[in-house]
């Protein structure tokens, strides 16, 4: 089940968990709005991590916490500090990419 959500005056489509269905709907305002919903103010560091995740997604790399930790972009500890409530789950939602299916 998908639903339509208004961000500013733009309509975006999200799935039942709130993940964007179509990445072409994503922009910085969308990211900031989703981040605000989970009480995160996006800093420069957040953006660096989000850009990395989007880049990995574009390269069709299956994301997991181990890969993020060994990327050199962000340590696992900092990743949890930036996105405290389940970092990979939250960060991918803000980045407009699908929720990773990995158990790691």
């Amino acid at each position: 089940m998908t639903q339509t959500k208004m961000i500013g005056n733009k309509a975006i489509t999200v799935n039942e968990e709130g993940y964007l269905v179509d990445f072409s709907h994503w922009d910085k305002q969308v990211a900031e709005t989703i981040a605000k919903e989970v009480n995160i103010d996006l800093s420069q560091r957040h953006w660096e991590v989000l850009n990395f995740l989007q880049d990995q997604h574009k390269k069709e790399v299956a994301l997991n916490i181990r890969k993020v930790g060994s990327s050199g972009v962000v340590s696992i500890k900092e990743f949890y500090t930036l996105f405290p409530q389940g970092p990979l789950k939250t960060a991918t939602k803000i980045a407009g990419i699908p929720k990773p299916a990995s158990c790691i």
């Binding site: 930790g69 500890k77 409530q85 970092p87 790691i104």
Partner: protein, 160 residues
């Protein structure tokens, strides 16, 4: 269960075994909790202590005897080298799907905010000292201390 909304808020995972499959099950459940925004704490007791023992944690094995899921006749499972072979195969398969080795997995758990506790009684029984154990261990704890940490709505306890 008579809880507000049934949400799992915290997982208290007790690991009492040191066979690789049990250790990984416990680690994956703890890591999985953290990645869902759920708190997680682990209590290493009895043979489970080997998973945080510096000298032993890299040498854990899968059990080939008494493990029907291995589909190896019990007699053969006991032959020299069988456990080592099964373990090597399992580790190879795990690396393929990005499951880290035990020490690296402990580092990930610790960095993710999983609390790691060693059981006081088991430490005494095996004559282990704190310095024998993984450096990221939070502390040595009594059972009572572990229960104390389980307080609150939405805490679940799991024995492996």
């Amino acid at each position: 269960m008579n809880e507000v909304d049934g949400d799992v808020k915290k997982m208290m995972i007790i690991l009492s075994k040191a066979t690789l499959d049990n250790v990984y099950a416990a680690f994956i459940l703890a890591n999985g909790a953290r990645s869902e925004g759920i708190e997680a704490e682990m209590f290493f007791t009895f043979f489970g202590l080997e998973a945080v023992h510096k000298k032993k944690l890299e040498h854990l094995h899968v059990a080939t005897v008494g493990n029907p899921a291995m589909h190896i006749p019990t007699m053969l499972g006991g032959f020299p080298g069988m456990e080592a072979m099964a373990t090597t195969m399992m580790k190879k398969e795990m690396e393929k799907i990005d499951i880290p080795p035990v020490h690296e997995f402990l580092d990930i758990l610790s960095a993710s905010g999983v609390k790691l506790w060693a059981c006081r009684l088991a430490m005494d029984m095996f004559h282990y000292k704190k310095e024998d154990l993984y450096e990221g261990l939070d502390d040595v704890l009594t059972v009572g201390g572990f229960y104390e940490r389980a307080k609150g709505v939405g805490t679940h306890m799991l024995f492996i």
